[in-house]
């Protein structure tokens, strides 16, 4: 650079004439002190060089030179703090996991977190008394201990993973999933699972006939139309929705089949597949895809509902990503006219 060229021309001695030593002191300095030291050293060089040459040297003083970086806004500073916390925060030691009940509902685990250890920790393996068992689910039972049947947690894990694939498959194709859990304490996890999957929830009594006699019972419910990006476009189809039949769910996830026999029976009559938590005293044929687990433990139910909700979220995300690329993964609603067109043309076909 300029200083080195001058050195070659003027000679080292001329440039090193000032009394201050150029070797940076190796004592330990603070940042501010080292910056001031740096400025004090370079200012005489700049003055000397400026006096010798016609081209002025750029000042390195922080105050006089233009700052290359702009001031960060409060939001950017916050983002920077969070990013630094993620990078350097965990350094030092690895802390073991601690179970906190609210985390299971607010931030549920995903299907890849299913393991025999987590299911046993959630008491999913504890069945009912041996005298109350249903022989139909003997294939799921590992053995007997303390007078109760023990459900094999590896079988639970396998069935749960299968159920996850079904839920994500349904949501990836734009299907309606109904999460039903009517026992006390199941409201939060049911709502959260439905929210993640973009489906419906039920935590109070199922009104009998809502599917078989849906046209009567659900007639006053509003129907909405959404496009491939899940945006509400009901206002474009207003008059076309007047005479349409009520909707039925495409998949029902029941967290307590024992109390919801009517719901499951209606689903069976109408060809709606069902997923359910089946305990050792329940009939596994009530649901299409049983998950043998403990329906009495809230932690177990929250784990299963959370995992299924996450699976639904994955499917929904895949559907929206495909829509961003112009690929429609679902069958559009039948007999709906394109808004603005008078003829009875079908809505745009799917791929």
């Amino acid at each position: 650079m300029i200083i080195r060229q001058l050195m070659l021309r003027q000679g080292r001695r001329a440039l090193f004439a000032p009394t201050r030593r150029w070797i940076r002191a190796l004592n330990t300095e603070t940042i501010e002190a080292s910056l001031e030291h740096h400025i004090r050293e370079t200012q005489p060089i700049e003055e000397f060089v400026n006096s010798q040459s016609h081209v002025p040297v750029q000042p390195t003083d922080a105050l006089t030179s233009e700052s290359e970086t702009e001031e960060l806004t409060t939001a950017e500073t916050w983002e920077a703090i969070q990013a630094q916390k993620q990078t350097t925060g965990p350094l030092g030691s690895a802390l073991s996991h601690l179970y906190r009940p609210h985390e299971l509902v607010n931030n549920p685990p995903s299907p890849k977190d299913i393991s025999v250890e987590s299911l046993i920790a959630a008491q999913a393996h504890l069945g009912h008394s041996t005298s109350l068992w249903h022989p139909g689910n003997s294939r799921y039972i590992f053995g007997i201990r303390s007078g109760i049947h023990i459900i094999d947690p590896s079988i639970t894990a396998a069935h749960l993973r299968r159920a996850c694939r079904i839920v994500s498959g349904v949501t990836a194709r734009g299907g309606i999933v109904l999460f039903a859990g009517t026992r006390e304490g199941q409201e939060r996890c049911v709502v959260k699972a439905a929210e993640l999957a973009g489906g419906c929830h039920l935590f109070e009594r199922w009104t009998p006939g809502s599917i078989t006699n849906g046209q009567q019972i659900l007639a006053r419910c509003k129907t909405k139309v959404v496009d491939e990006f899940d945006n509400d476009v009901t206002h474009l189809f207003g008059d076309q929705l007047m005479n349409r039949s009520v909707l039925k769910p495409d998949l029902v996830v029941c967290l307590n089949p024992r109390e919801n026999y009517v719901l499951l029976h209606e689903c069976g009559l109408n060809g709606v597949p069902t997923i359910g938590i089946v305990d050792t005293d329940q009939d596994p044929t009530w649901v299409t895809y049983p998950i043998p687990a403990n329906d009495d433990s809230l932690r177990c139910v929250q784990t299963i509902a959370g995992v299924l909700g996450r699976a639904g979220e994955t499917g929904k995300k895949a559907r929206l990503e495909a829509a961003d690329q112009g690929i429609i993964t679902f069958n559009p609603a039948e007999r709906l006219r394109n808004p603005g067109s008078r003829s009875g043309s079908e809505s745009r076909p799917s791929r």
Binding site: L35, T74, A94
Partner: protein, 303 residues
């Protein structure tokens, strides 16, 4: 009849076949335990060490055994206290200002700094990889800008670390205005601004408050600048813009552990300089570059 009464009257307590349930007097303890954290290249470091830097035994001493000691000490010091679930960094920031909790701060800071050092080591497969990793270009440009060249930076860094008498760490940090600087911390000092009371940037045995660098930034500023700002308001008054709440002053990017136990076994008593020069080739510059990413996509050099 007498025998019957005797056998019936045998108290159950003397019957060894009955299992007595153990009733705990207190609630079950639920806490998070500190463990030695896994490194990216743990498996190979444990078996073959870090080639040309640490032997397997040297790595075992410097990392496995020492970090285990720090972590066990942390478990003992925090067990039963409200801090038993706190992370290491939280502990060192909380107790940097409390001299009666100096032991907890020291162990937390040492665990953190040691992990930082080992996190920045790269695994190079001999005969396949080059001798050292390449510095990403934007980062190398920034180093050249702030230190006049990468070679100058290397010499300065190693010279600083070599000149420190006694154990400590030397850091490459990025300041608030995105300048790269070298920072030293003695013993278990911490570079974080939240723990600046325990930065320990100088050797207190040979530098006093009056000498250069004796004071940390805040104290130095307080003793050298005008403190009374009564009546100064408005855009022309020269007031600096208030930083956002909890604003970052600096980000550590890279560090070297100059404690003797780290290099003594493999490099000998006089081998500090040789250790530092060998360490230079084993820095994982990708990790260092990623540490400078304090905002999405805005790493050093991309500003």
């Amino acid at each position: 009849m007498l025998l019957q009464r005797l056998t019936r009257a045998t108290p159950r307590a003397l019957n060894p076949s009955i299992q007595r349930p153990i009733i705990s007097s207190s609630a079950p303890q639920c806490r998070r335990i500190h463990h030695v954290p896994p490194l990216t290249h743990d498996a190979s470091f444990k078996t073959e060490g870090v080639p040309s830097l640490f032997s397997a035994e040297g790595f075992d001493l410097a990392w496995t055994q020492y970090q285990r000691l720090m972590v066990e000490k942390l478990n003992l010091l925090t067990g039963g206290t409200p801090d038993e679930n706190a992370t290491t960094k939280t502990l060192l920031l909380t107790y940097a200002r409390q001299s009666d909790m100096a032991s907890l701060f020291n162990h937390a800071s040492m665990a953190h700094n040691n992990h930082f050092f080992f996190n920045c080591l790269v695994r190079l497969i001999i005969h396949i990889s080059p001798k050292s990793t390449i510095i990403p270009k934007p980062f190398a440009d920034k180093l050249a800008e702030d230190f006049s060249s990468v070679e100058t930076f290397r010499q300065e860094f190693i010279a600083t670390a070599n000149a420190m008498f006694g154990p400590g760490f030397v850091w490459l940090v990025k300041t608030e205005d995105h300048q790269l600087r070298i920072l030293t911390t003695y013993l278990a000092g911490s570079p974080y601004p939240g723990a600046h009371w325990r930065r320990q940037p100088v050797d207190m045995t040979n530098q006093s408050i009056e000498s250069a660098g004796g004071l940390s930034g805040a104290d130095y500023a307080r003793q050298t600048t005008v403190q009374n700002k009564v009546g100064k308001i408005g855009s022309a008054s020269g007031q600096p813009r208030e930083p956002a709440p909890g604003g970052i002053n600096l980000t550590p990017l890279l560090c070297v552990n100059t404690w003797e136990h780290v290099w003594l076994r493999d490099w000998g008593i006089g081998g500090k300089r040789a250790f530092l020069e060998a360490w230079w080739d084993k820095i994982d510059w990708e990790v260092v570059y990623n540490n400078s990413d304090t905002m999405k996509g805005r790493k050093v050099g991309l500003l």
